[in-house]
């Protein structure tokens, strides 16, 4: 079937993927570079320059407290991307382990694990995050752990399904006849066959975690002021959108472009067309 993809479609999808890679790469680079670039202070307030438009001194203007929007926007990616990356890696490890374990053991244990996953999937994650942030704490460790726990179930579900199919195939029997251990079967035989689905799912969950963390900050339960963070910046700026739109638009654009970039990069159809 893959052979039926026309060259035009392939080219189009190659472009989509490259664009995604450039956007995501750019974001990571900017987030890292924000600390070393000669930017103005993130927290320094200038009461004489409040809600100003773009100028030579402030390229993206200033916010309601007179802080430099460019500096805050570039720095604002650090907590979001950092938290989302760590959380998604944890969620991926947890989801992969749980999914392949359930598929391997089968039987009632498989059923039990997957029902727990169902229950977790049914919980509105933002609500759980808000409860945790309110009652347990807002330390990054707590938030990352909660995010990982809340976003591992969909990964576990996908991994369970995909590896279940792979495990019924005869090459698994052949590996067992050669003395392969369970771990070796998962790593050597199953993982290469589900890698594409797995990576795509993990990337998707990364964007959800990113948005969830930003939402939490927006609600005032994630990062605390005066830290620069996109959700928090949007929250601060939304009251002044008629006076100066830049403090709002800049973090929105960053958040949106990062989510779109990740989506473009891992578009499953694009992967299939190119593989």
């Amino acid at each position: 079937m893959i052979g039926l993809h026309s060259t035009a479609t392939r080219t189009r999808r190659r472009i989509t993927m490259s664009a995604g890679a450039v956007i995501v790469g750019g974001h990571l680079l900017l987030a890292l570079a924000a600390s070393v670039l000669p930017l103005q202070s993130v927290v320094a307030q200038d009461s004489n320059a409040i809600l100003q438009g773009a100028s030579g001194a402030h390229w993206l203007g200033t916010d309601s407290l007179g802080r430099d929007v460019l500096s805050r926007t570039l720095h604002g990616g650090q907590p979001s991307i950092g938290v989302a990356l760590v959380a998604v890696l944890l969620a991926a490890a947890l989801g992969f382990g749980l999914g392949t374990f359930a598929a391997l053991v089968g039987g009632w244990l498989d059923d039990a694990i997957m029902r727990v996953v169902d229950v977790l999937l049914a919980m509105p994650s933002l609500l759980v995050l808000m409860l945790v942030a309110s009652f347990i704490g807002r330390e990054p460790v707590v938030l990352v752990a909660t995010l990982a726990l809340m976003y591992a179930p969909p990964i576990a579900r996908v991994v369970r399904g995909a590896s279940g199919n792979v495990l019924t195939r005869d090459f698994i029997l052949a590996a067992r006849l050669r003395g392969a251990s369970r771990r070796a079967i998962v790593v050597g035989e199953v993982l290469p066959n589900i890698a594409e689905v797995f990576i795509t799912e993990v990337a998707m969950q990364f964007t959800w975690i990113l948005l969830a963390f930003s939402s939490l900050s927006f609600l005032g339960l994630g990062t605390s002021p005066p830290t620069a963070e996109w959700g928090l910046m949007i929250s601060d700026a939304r009251g002044f959108i008629t006076v100066s739109p830049l403090p709002l638009l800049a973090p929105v654009a960053m958040l949106a472009s990062l989510v779109l970039g990740v989506n473009a990069l891992v578009d499953r159809r694009a992967q299939a067309a190119l593989s």
Partner: protein, 548 residues
Amino acid sequence: MTDIALQLDRFSIGVGPVDAAHFDAVEPPLILRDLSLVVPAGTRLGIVGESGSGKSTLLRAWIGAVGQGLFVTHGTALTAGHDLFSLADEDRRQLLGSTVAMVPQSVAMSLTPHLSVAQHFAEVLGQDADRTSQLLDEVGLNGDQLRRRFAHELSGGQQQRVLIALGLARDPHIVLLDEPTSALDVGVVHDILTMIAEAQHRRGFTLVCVSHDLSVIDRVADRVVVMKRGEIVEDASREQMNRRPSHPYTAELLAAAPTLGIRHVGAGSGTAIDRVVPTPIVRAEALSVVRSSARHRLGRANAASATTAVDALTLEVFSGEILGVIGESGSGKSTLLKTICGLLPPTGGTVQWADGFDLATPVERRPIEMLRRIQMVFQNPDDSLNPAHTVRRLIDPSARRPWSPFVGGSKTAHDETLRELLNTVGLAPEMLERRGAKLSGGEKQRVAIARALAMKPELLLLDEVTSALDVTVQAGVLATLLDIHRRLATTMVFVSHDIAVVASIADRIAVLRNGRLVEVDVTNEVLSRPRDPYTARLIELARRTSTD
């Protein structure tokens, strides 16, 4: 009605047009190439060819269908005097409904599992219980009893018969059959072919039957067309073709089809049995295996509904022999192999290796040396080769496998071993870096054999290893197996549903039925003096299909 039922005139079907730019630049590859053929009304035509020869595509063209991504490049195909590709949809439906019936290949996918047989007929006939029963009776089924059954409750043979009855429901002048017997056991195949021939004789319709199996065509057709890579290479009467095929490819096909009594060059001819006192390498005593139909992975089973797959079986495999095991599907032959290599736990009796090692030990708990000794090759190489790996990774026991206990030796010496291994199974050394998924069916199965041989096994279990392959490819793989047997003296257990294939390679034959051993003896003895009526019937059927 015209005297010519079906006709082709320089008919070609090609791939594409994928997109305009691509189409202009390159000549589209043709699936069917300049076919011209006239099928007079009331005659019986057989089309034979290997997979990819375009035979099914041709059959579908006569009902005005081309597959996705394909199109008619030039020429015409006439069905009952009409060019279906130029007819309006409504006219085409009218014509097809009243004159042409096509019975598709995949039986199981052609019936809706949750509809009853009667409901299937109602779609064609309206509610007409009498006519339904009558049609079912005509295809050799008990109509009154079967009408109320659901499609999923029928056996493969019954499903095939129902499909044929559905095809006959509107009294077609032309019946097109696509591989009518490809997934059925020999006994069932024989009955269905007889039924088809009788129905054709009674009704006098034009019959076109497509199959990869010459013996099937032989039973239902008077005229045989041989296709290869989208072209007709031979068009002859059945007698002519069997006596003196004009095209070398046909001769090759005929020669490759295993026939009873003809043994492959170098076949064991009972070496181990006649000359040496036979020493058993595996001994099964009153072995029983109960299999649960519930899911079980990596040895863990939960018993829900259980069937006795192997029932009190006592059998010895002698060192150095090729033991053929035949039986129909469900006879327990695959279960027996999987039990010997530790993939399934026996539920009763004993099974032991020559040195007394208990083969009831699951594969995960067997010592390395024991693992090495017994290797298995599976039926479908598409399923038994990990598509993510290269040939090197597949066959090399030490290739980046963290678990492998078989590491050692220098890299170049090691490479030399792998090339030697590929050579043994008849593959070019360059294959080493190819990805398994990119190989042909025969090449894949050879890689699977190489993978098993890489462990230097003393016992090679072969589970229907040639049944997914075309006849010429099958002949090649069988020859390779015999060559391996001669050179390495590996003991082999060769399981197949096809007695002709087994007879061409095995020193001894064991016949299984419903998990029980029917008989076991030296090949020639079984063939010439079968002791059990079941064996006699299998041989009789094989004889009839091959020499009719």
